[in-house]
């Protein structure tokens, strides 16, 4: 019961904490403006180069990628703000169980990320004419949920790593944008140089965008299950490695007496 309480309070506080620098109307504006502007940019680039047939591929890819603003950027930001705002010693001084405390930080961002994807799909359909008529709703829904969950795991991995670094926000930016390049969001992973293609498969989003495109084309849950299974494994491994980094940081910080000045 205590673990559940810690998990829930960690979830709620980490989400509420972002309103320290973001007010609710601006949060809503960002939700709509960011989703549509990034998608529109790449849709127009694709339209310029490859013509209208490139639009669905790019619009769906960017819809899924919108989850990373919540699950990568916001989750890593928690580490950054803990360091800047001087709350990290208080967090680490509590006797609370560490695993629910750590995982809880990402939970509401997962729901927020799912909302971002839903808004992006709306734009993809109504602004850019993506056809959702063949969509297998169950497969797509599960893909979106799993993508948000596993990407949060990846966010916690980078967030955990960032405890050891001086400026987590730099990494929040790098990883959020790098997904656009590595995860098959705007072009198939096979278009990347062969030597860097393996990097794409360490990101859960790579599996998610492929599964989403398949589900929108009519693939069943069984058809996309292998992709979702791979995504789940990558997400869980990320989460556990992130937790390891968090614990390592805590141990090192207690030994050296250095929390924020790394």
């Amino acid at each position: 019961m205590s673990r559940l309480r810690i998990f829930l309070s960690s979830s709620i506080f980490s989400f509420k904490a972002q309103f320290h620098w973001l007010n609710p109307p601006m949060w809503l504006t960002m939700k709509f403006v960011l989703s549509v502007s990034q998608m529109a940019f790449f849709v127009f680039v694709g339209l310029f180069i490859a013509g209208p047939e490139a639009i669905p591929f790019i619009a769906i890819g960017n819809s899924l990628q919108s989850v990373s603003w919540n699950t990568i950027f916001s989750v890593i930001s928690i580490t950054g703000h803990d360091k800047w705002d001087g709350t990290l010693p208080l967090v680490l001084a509590t006797p609370a169980s560490r695993l629910p405390l750590f995982i809880g930080r990402a939970m509401i961002h997962i729901l927020d990320g799912i909302l971002s994807v839903a808004i992006s799909f709306f734009f993809a359909a109504f602004l850019f004419g993506v056809n959702f008529a063949q969509t297998n709703v169950l497969a797509l829904t599960l893909t979106v949920f799993l993508t948000a969950f596993t990407m949060a795991g990846f966010g916690l991995l980078i967030g955990g790593l960032c405890f050891h670094l001086r400026n987590p926000m730099v990494f929040a930016n790098i990883f959020t944008y790098a997904l656009l390049l590595f995860c098959g969001v705007n072009f198939p992973v096979q278009n990347l140089p062969q030597i860097i293609q393996p990097i794409s498969y360490i990101f859960p989003l790579t599996y998610g965008v492929t599964a989403a495109r398949n589900a929108i084309a009519g693939a069943t849950l069984f058809d996309v299950s292998l992709l979702l299974g791979q995504q789940l494994v990558v997400g869980l491994v990320s989460l556990m490695v992130g937790y390891f980094f968090f614990q390592l940081f805590e141990r090192t910080a207690r030994k050296t007496g250095k929390l924020e000045e790394l």
């Binding site: 960002m30 339209l47 180069i49 400026n167 926000m169 705007n186």
Partner: protein
């Protein structure tokens, strides 16, 4: 040295010192243009025509845009966070001149992003970059930098009154890349966006830069039917006229904003 220039230079110097003290901060400012350009170059990889140069010049332009936009926002936000905004406002130097110096320094950093994009394009993506008229290319780039910096002043004046500058800069960044046609012709955009594009000085600047780089762009510009040199001249005239209007607006806006901030006394908690 006139007072205004001295203040602008001091702010410029201070921004440079800050950058050298903690250079990692430039990464968030330039990461989006850098990644967007890499994505575009990968998309352009199998295309024929002048797409590669389009992506490279667009990426460089976006670097200037992104850096200036962030700089305008953070020039104020960092002062607010560090508790020095009141001192800056209370100083006899005009806030406009302080922000102008920072805005120029950050547009200059944006040029380093342009250089990085060029290097990546040539070394990784094997894009052949040949500039038809190097002198005009450099001249139009510098003038565009001035235009971007001046637009940054207008943003900065609004940011003085808002606590959400970080959010506003994030929200404005990509729409500006789209509207100014950094990486594709404006003709692709819905018609109702065109007037917004034409009141942005950098829209004309990037057009002039492209024309100075390659005459092949003449068929895609606003000035079809003119020769290249006339088209560049017209682009530059448009850009400078708009830039002067921005400068005038910035002077008025900073006066209004400073006055309002002093009357309301809510500068830090805006």
């Amino acid at each position: 040295m006139p007072e205004a220039l001295r203040v602008i230079y001091s702010a410029f110097r201070m921004a440079m010192l800050h950058w050298f003290a903690d250079p990692q901060w430039v990464i968030p400012n330039i990461i989006a243009p850098f990644i967007f350009t890499s994505v575009a170059l990968t998309l352009f990889k199998d295309s024929t025509g002048p797409f590669g140069l389009y992506a490279v010049l667009g990426g460089g332009m976006m670097g200037m845009w992104g850096n200036t936009l962030y700089a305008s926002g953070f020039a104020i936000e960092m002062e607010r966070w560090q508790g020095t905004l009141e001192e800056v406002m209370a100083a006899p130097s005009k806030l406009l001149h302080v922000v102008a110096g920072r805005s120029v320094s950050n547009a200059v950093f944006g040029l380093t992003n342009m250089l990085a994009v060029f290097l990546i394009a040539v070394l990784v993506f094997r894009v052949q970059i040949e500039v038809d008229d190097p002198l005009l290319f450099v001249t139009t780039t510098v003038l565009t930098l001035v235009s971007v910096s001046t637009l940054g002043l207008i943003f900065a004046s609004a940011f003085v009154l808002s606590r959400s500058t970080q959010v506003l800069t994030n929200g404005l960044e990509t729409p500006l890349y789209i509207i100014s046609g950094s990486m594709f012709p404006i003709a692709l955009l819905p018609f109702w966006i065109h007037p917004i594009a034409y009141v942005l000085g950098p829209t004309w600047g990037v057009d002039a830069i492209r024309l100075a780089a390659s005459q092949e762009y003449l068929s895609q510009t606003f000035w079809q039917g003119f020769d290249v040199n006339t088209a560049i001249l017209l682009d530059v005239v448009m850009m400078m006229a708009i830039t002067l209007a921005y400068a005038g607006m910035a002077v008025v806006l900073f006066k209004v904003v400073e006055k309002r901030a002093r009357i309301k006394g809510t500068l830090v908690e805006a």
